[in-house]
Each structure stands twice: as structure tokens, then as C-alpha cells.
């Protein structure tokens, strides 16, 4: 479903990704862990071209998205993204936040988009907030809305960029619960996270990144209980 070949990314002289080859299959839940500055967010952002790779190819459902001819917007419709800072649209209320893209991009009739939005609000447990504005909600609520907003485009893949890192500790659980539901429903997910508990419990595979490459990968049980790479060991000893 996602095929990455020789992915490199430079910011000026800084080499952030030094060659990544990865294959993510349909229905996989991949957790990407690693120290800050390891390139894991950059890797994730390359997958929907929020960062343009310096070198290498990325295929999404067989389509080469790094090809200049490819319509990036079409690819992005299939990939929802959830950001660390939520990035809800502050000038729109909750239901408008969710229906904006389906109406503008998919030309979905407004009543249909609103019906879909209400179902999604139900799913993330915020059915009573449809006329509220983002600033009136807590961080955890905003992030759940952001997930609903991404799901409204009916994506095949969901990308999460440290979705709980900006939250107060007591709100982390509610967001992770929504993500776990999504995982149980069979969504293909790539999650950059510092939540080792979540990675261990929900992920079907864990990638450990450091210094711009994937240092080690495997089942959560292998990585967390029996890491082989020295860097993985040292990282896990600090965070677990």
C-alpha cells in the first residue's frame, strides 16, 4: 500500500533522511519511535508530500507520488493526517471544520456532508459539540475533532504526527482510545509517537528511527523486550 524506496531529504546542508526503504501493507499499524531530530516526523510528512523528498520514490497504492505528473491532491484525499498542534480551522465551527473538505474537494452535497460529520462526531464521542468553535474545546477534544475531520475524506491511510505530544497528560487517553478504535476497525495507520504504551499495545510493527535511517524494526514484542540494536536499547532504556 505504501512503498518507499531510497527516500532522502535534505534541508540545505542538513541531511535529515539518509535513505529509507520501507513497505507498509494494507491494514498495518506502524508506530515510528525514536529520539527527537531522528527524522521520524519528516519521514511521515514525506508520505503525503508536505515535505518534498530530495531523492527516492514513494508509491501509494501503486501510484508514484514523487513523479511530477502525479496529482498530489488526489493522493492526499486518500491519506488523512493528524497533526501535533491539531490545526483546526479557528474561524469555522466544528461541523464546518469537518464538512469543508468533503464539500470543496469531493463536491459532496452539504446535507450529506453534515450527516457524515455527525456520524463521525458520534464516533469520536463529541456529538454535542457541532456548533462549538475550536477555541472553546480542550486540547483532547480538538484532537478528536481533527481525527474526525481527516476521516470525513474517507481515507485509506491515516498518518499521525505525534498526536498526543501537545496534550495535557489527562487528555492523552481519550485521543489514544479513538485511535485504538480506528486501528481495531482495520485502518492502515502510520503513527509517529512518544507513547510507548500505545506503540506496544496497538502497533502491528514498530520502526525505531535514529540519525535519518530506520535502525531497527519488528513486532512490538521483539522491539520492546528484546531490542538488538545498541541505539534502540539505549533509547528504550531512557523512555521506558
Amino acid at each position: 500500500m505504501i512503498e518507499v524506496k531510497g527516500l532522502k531529504k535534505h534541508f540545505g546542508d542538513l541531511e535529515v533522511l539518509k535513505g529509507i526503504d520501507e513497505h507498509i501493507k494494507k491494514g498495518e499499524k506502524v508506530a515510528i519511535i525514536g529520539p527527537s531530530g531522528s527524522g521520524k516526523s519528516t519521514f511521515l510528512r514525506c508520505l503525503n508530500l508536505l515535505e518534498v523528498p530530495t531523492d527516492g520514490d514513494i508509491f501509494i497504492e501503486g501510484v508514484c507520488i514523487t513523479d511530477k505528473e502525479t496529482d498530489v491532491n488526489k493522493i492526499r484525499e486518500k491519506m488523512g493526517m493528524v497533526f501535533q498542534q491539531f490545526n483546526l480551522f479557528p474561524h469555522l465551527n466544528i461541523i464546518e471544520n469537518i464538512t469543508l473538505a468533503p464539500i470543496k474537494v469531493k463536491k459532496m452535497p452539504k446535507p450529506e456532508a453534515e450527516k457524515l460529520a455527525r456520524e463521525l462526531l458520534e464516533r469520536v464521542g463529541l456529538a454535542d459539540k457541532e456548533t462549538a468553535y475550536p477555541a472553546q474545546l480542550s486540547g483532547g477534544q480538538q484532537q478528536r475533532i481533527a481525527i474526525a475531520r481527516a476521516l470525513a475524506m474517507k481515507p485509506d491511510i491515516m498518518l499521525f504526527d505525534e498526536p498526543t505530544s501537545a496534550l495535557d497528560p489527562e487528555m492523552v487517553g481519550e485521543v489514544l482510545a479513538v485511535m485504538k478504535d480506528l486501528a481495531d476497525a482495520g485502518m492502515t495507520m502510520v503513527v509517529v509517537t512518544h507513547e510507548m504504551g500505545f506503540a506496544r499495545e496497538v502497533a502491528s510493527r514498530v520502526l525505531f528511527m535514529d540519525e535519518g535511517i530506520v535502525q531497527e524494526e519488528g513486532l512490538p514484542s521483539e522491539i520492546f523486550t528484546n531490542p538488538k540494536n545498541e541505539r534502540t536499547k539505549s533509547f528504550l532504556s531512557k523512555v521506558l
Binding site: N87, H91, L100, A101, V105, A146
Partner: protein, 224 residues
């Protein structure tokens, strides 16, 4: 007593106060529509400046540079005596066009600042949902930028009210024009000019207070 006589000659005789009222009307009319025209030009030029296309960036850059680098009065004279020389068109409309083009360059920079002040995460959120650059601009960035720049736009309106006095170079329709019509009949310079100064001051004070109130209300709605 001489002053009362002069005031009488300036405002009362022949209903001359109506000239000032009409002059003030034109001053506000020209300023208002010039800001609207300037806003339209400004948005286009700001988008040009921020565009990926080098041609668009250069074109809007040159426009802004030339307009800001030459006196408003020269621009007005060129537009009135050269560009619209053969065109039968109401003078106040020429004023709107000249001051709109002038103001467009300044508003372009205001709009550009407003767009840049919107968090990059907003663009990324829009694009990640599959929206095009244009859709993201229109539905997400510009509405937020508009709110940020409203105070600066109000200020530009106030600046234009004062600036439009230059239209006296080509016509007598505005507030200063009213003073000059009176001067030519009474040969008294002081009273009409000082009166006009006072009228400008009061009008601008009122508008400034209204703008400050509006800004305060917007800030409150932000807090929620």
C-alpha cells in the same frame, strides 16, 4: 465681530455650508471606494508577491515599488491628464481609480503580512485534506488573514481621507475644493481653510474611535 462676519460669509451666505457638506460627502465617497478598489488590487498583488511564479512575483513587485516610490499627486495628475484625458468620466471616479491604485500598493503589503501571519499549520491541514492551493487560500487562509488586517485597513481608510485632499489639483469637488470656492468669492483665506481643517479633524476622530471600538469587540470575540 469681524470673525462672525467672516463665518457668515463662509458658511451662511447663499447656503455655502452645502458646498462643505457636499465636499465632505465626496471626500468620504472617494476614500471609501478607493479603499475597496485598493483592497481588490491589494489582494491580487499580495497573492502575486507570494506566488511560486517568478513572473507574478516580479510584476506585483514592480507595481508596489513604483507606486510607493512616486508621489500620490504625480500619480493623480498622470491618471487624470494623460490616461483619462480623452475619456468623459466623472471626476470623483477618476479620484477613486487614482487613489485606489495608489492605496492598492500599500494594502498589498498589509494583506501579505496578514496572510503570512496565519500559522503554516493551517495551510498544511488544508492541503493534507486534498484541497488545492487556491481552495486553501480562499476558504482557510484569507478569512483568517482578513480578520488580522481589519485594523490596518481601517487605518488605511483614515490615511486616504486625508490623502484625497490632493484631488484639488484636478477638481473642486472635495472638502478642500469647497474652501477654495468660498475663497474665490470672499477673498478670505483663513476662515474657510481652518474650518476645513477642523472638519477633517472631527470626522477622522469619529472614525478612529469607531475603528478602535470595532477592534476591541473583535479582540473580545477572540478570547471566548
Amino acid at each position: 465681530m469681524e470673525l462672525i462676519e467672516k463665518l457668515n460669509a463662509t458658511f451662511i451666505v447663499d447656503g455655502r455650508w452645502q458646498w462643505f457638506l457636499s465636499g465632505l460627502g465626496y471626500t468620504l465617497l472617494i476614500s471609501f471606494f478607493a479603499v475597496l478598489l485598493g483592497l481588490a488590487i491589494g489582494v491580487v498583488m499580495a497573492l502575486g508577491r507570494l506566488s511560486k511564479s517568478k513572473i507574478l512575483r516580479t510584476v506585483s513587485g514592480i507595481y508596489i515599488d513604483i507606486i510607493r516610490g512616486t508621489p500620490t499627486m504625480v500619480q493623480l495628475l498622470i491618471i487624470y491628464y494623460i490616461i483619462f484625458a480623452q475619456v468623459p468620466i466623472a471626476k470623483w471616479i477618476v479620484g477613486v481609480i487614482a487613489f485606489g491604485i495608489n492605496s492598492g500598493a500599500y494594502i498589498a503589503e498589509i494583506v501579505r503580512g496578514g496572510i503570512l501571519s496565519v500559522n503554516i499549520g493551517q495551510t498544511e491541514a488544508g492541503r493534507s485534506l486534498g484541497m488545492t492551493h487556491a481552495q486553501t487560500m480562499r476558504s482557510i487562509i484569507l478569512p483568517q488573514a482578513a480578520k488580522n488586517i481589519l485594523p490596518a485597513l481601517g487605518n488605511e481608510f483614515v490615511v486616504l481621507i486625508k490623502e484625497t485632499a490632493v484631488i484639488g489639483m484636478v477638481s473642486n469637488i472635495d472638502l478642500v475644493g469647497a474652501a477654495r470656492k468660498v475663497q474665490s468669492l470672499t477673498y478670505d483665506f483663513a476662515v474657510p481653510l481652518i474650518s476645513v481643517g477642523v472638519i477633517y479633524y472631527v470626522v477622522i476622530k469619529i472614525i478612529s474611535i469607531m475603528l478602535a471600538k470595532l477592534e476591541e469587540r473583535m479582540r473580545k470575540s477572540d478570547k471566548r
